[in-house]
Amino acid sequence: MAAYTPDRRQILAALAASATTPFAASSGFAQAPSFSGRKLVSSGFGGSTMDIIQSAIFTPFDKQSGAASTQVPMQSAAALARMKAEAGNPQIDMFQFSGGQEAYAKEEGLTQPLTGVSRLGKIPAGLKDPDGQWVTWAVIAEGIVYRKDKIATPPTSYKDFLKPEYRGHVAFPTITNGYGMDFLVMLAKAFGGGEDNIEPGFTAMKQIKSETIFKAASDLPTLFGQGDIWIMPYDTGNTFKIQQSGLPVAFATPQEGSPAVFITACIAKGAKNADVANAAIDAMLKPEAQIEIARTMRWTASNPETKLPADLAGEVPAVDKLAQLDRGKINAMRAAWTDRWNREIAR
């Protein structure tokens, strides 16, 4: 007889839970399902970026949902390789990409539809997958970063990189850095080409091929700090970081437009904690979280309902003000252009 008691208790508990669920869902503040005792493993971008995302997004999410989220640092390309290697048995539930890798991941069947992201409908069509396999949760504006003390008139165009007075003071990232690829495409656009005609880009870049070429954003503070680098193509987020370290740098939006980098999130097919990942991605799209990301990193919000405070709005370009590159075309040409870049620019 006593053996049945726990069962009855469980039934009662279940009844109580089902009775409170509609109330919780309608009450607003407790809408996130409880994931207490559950884990979420996401790829992260490493360094301070990862720490900021952790405290702006995952820590509040964990607090509200009871889950324990961790980010594993890896750059986007490495993350995609990991996703591919672990296909079918993913050890990482959720992936964050910054280089357009989500499209490839979807094409290869490595992702699954976002089924529990209630704010997905708020995100503009260009910023998410039409089949709902990935969503952009933040956007980084690229443009021209320059030393205010060395360059008096703010640069206005990608053509400015070829100015003779900047010779010996230009730096740009390698093509595998992502921004290096966008720089090539924007140079092509500035000189009458584009994704379909990359030739002008290579012609222009050949003129500055003997300038400093770097691989990672970690070199940026040193390059600007030692004084002989005045101008390079990079983004708002890193400009902000370098400003915080006390260097006189500024960001300029080129007249050709600021290429936008989509910071996307997607869920690995077969992920053990797909439900937690869905809720976490929903939390990323919350206006509060997006304001926090804009405040701490100067990344542009992807949810148009996000209303930035006036002081921030001036520093972070709005999402509809950004130029968008045809990532599909670029991805299709990536291998060929990388090969050509290695031969013609890095040699």
């Binding site: 995609l80 390698t174 400093t212 070429i213 040193t222 291998a335 890095a346 040699r347």
Partner: protein, 289 residues
């Protein structure tokens, strides 16, 4: 009859012993080395049009990849020569020293090994940038008249690699020099050889094995190094390891990446065997009977 059978059984058991002793090591290598290498070869023999040697044709038909291979081997040989030139006298002096500080000095030479390759590379970056210590020191000494940047150059990669691989050379040679009986040198000198001749004819010849081992160790680690060429060398110091990374991780062209890895392995294996045969073989021919 029974005794004979028992004897045969014991012999069989005795024959089993080396197999059993080898088994764990062979098993570990089979699972973690031979199997992955075999799958790598299998991947490298595939292409969009089906199985074939397209990837290898692409490599050998393109002077650009020959250049990368040549740069890699040149880097490995330069680093090996530098570590040998610096490590040989250091190891000899440390091995022959009667000082009680010798042990501590040997320990000190191994310190670079205790720091991760990435951290060490960042250290070199601080030194190698245009306003870094290297440039400033050379300027102050009047050796150069304008700041020089060693960062993003092959020179920087070679210096950084030689620094980290030097301890391996010193440790290998130190052990060998220690094991050479000093009396052999004295014997040579008592028979009329000048110290330099005794050193060359006796000590260095006996240390041949150690020189081969140290060189091969340094060479193979240098040409497969990734972090240092990538961080210090940047885009212009493209070597096999960084090319493999680019193909597999950034361009997701696994077949070509696997082919690069296989080519590197075969070239290293061939060079190592040739080098070993050259030094060991010549020694045998000249060795007094």
């Amino acid at each position: 009859m029974t005794a004979e059978r028992q004897g045969a059984g014991a012999r069989r058991q005795a024959a089993l012993v080396p197999i059993l002793l080898f088994a764990p090591c062979v098993l570990v290598y089979a699972i973690f080395f031979i199997w992955p290498q075999a799958s790598l070869l299998a991947i490298s023999a595939s292409s969009k049009s089906g199985p074939g040697l397209d990837q290898y044709a692409r490599f050998f038909g393109d002077s650009y990849y020959w250049e990368i291979l040549g740069r890699t081997l040149g880097m490995g040989i330069t680093v090996t020569v530098i570590t040998l030139v610096l490590g040989l006298p250091t190891a000899y002096v440390l091995a022959r020293s009667q000082s009680r500080w010798a042990g501590l000095l040997l320990l000190l030479t191994t310190f670079p090994l205790l720091v991760s390759a990435v951290v060490r590379s960042f250290g070199w970056m601080v030194l190698f940038f245009r306003d870094g210590l290297v440039s400033r020191t050379l300027l102050a000494l009047g050796l150069i008249d304008r700041p020089v940047q060693t960062m993003y150059t092959m020179t920087g990669v070679i210096i950084a690699l030689a620094q980290v691989l030097l301890p391996l050379m010193v440790l290998t040679l130190h052990g060998v020099f220690k094991s050479i009986d000093r009396d052999l040198e004295y014997a040579a000198m008592s028979l009329g050889a000048r110290p330099a001749v005794a050193l060359g004819l006796v000590t260095l010849r006996l240390a041949r094995g150690g020189i081969v081992a140290g060189s091969l160790l340094v060479f193979s680690l240098a040409i497969s190094a990734f972090a240092t060429p990538s961080l210090v060398g940047g885009a212009r110091a493209n070597v096999m390891a960084t090319a493999i990374y680019e193909q597999t991780v950034e361009l997701l062209d696994w077949p070509f990446g696997a082919a690069l890895a296989a080519i590197l392995l075969v070239v290293v294996l061939g060079l190592s065997l040739a080098y070993g045969a050259l030094i060991e073989g010549r020694g045998e021919l000249e060795a007094p009977r």
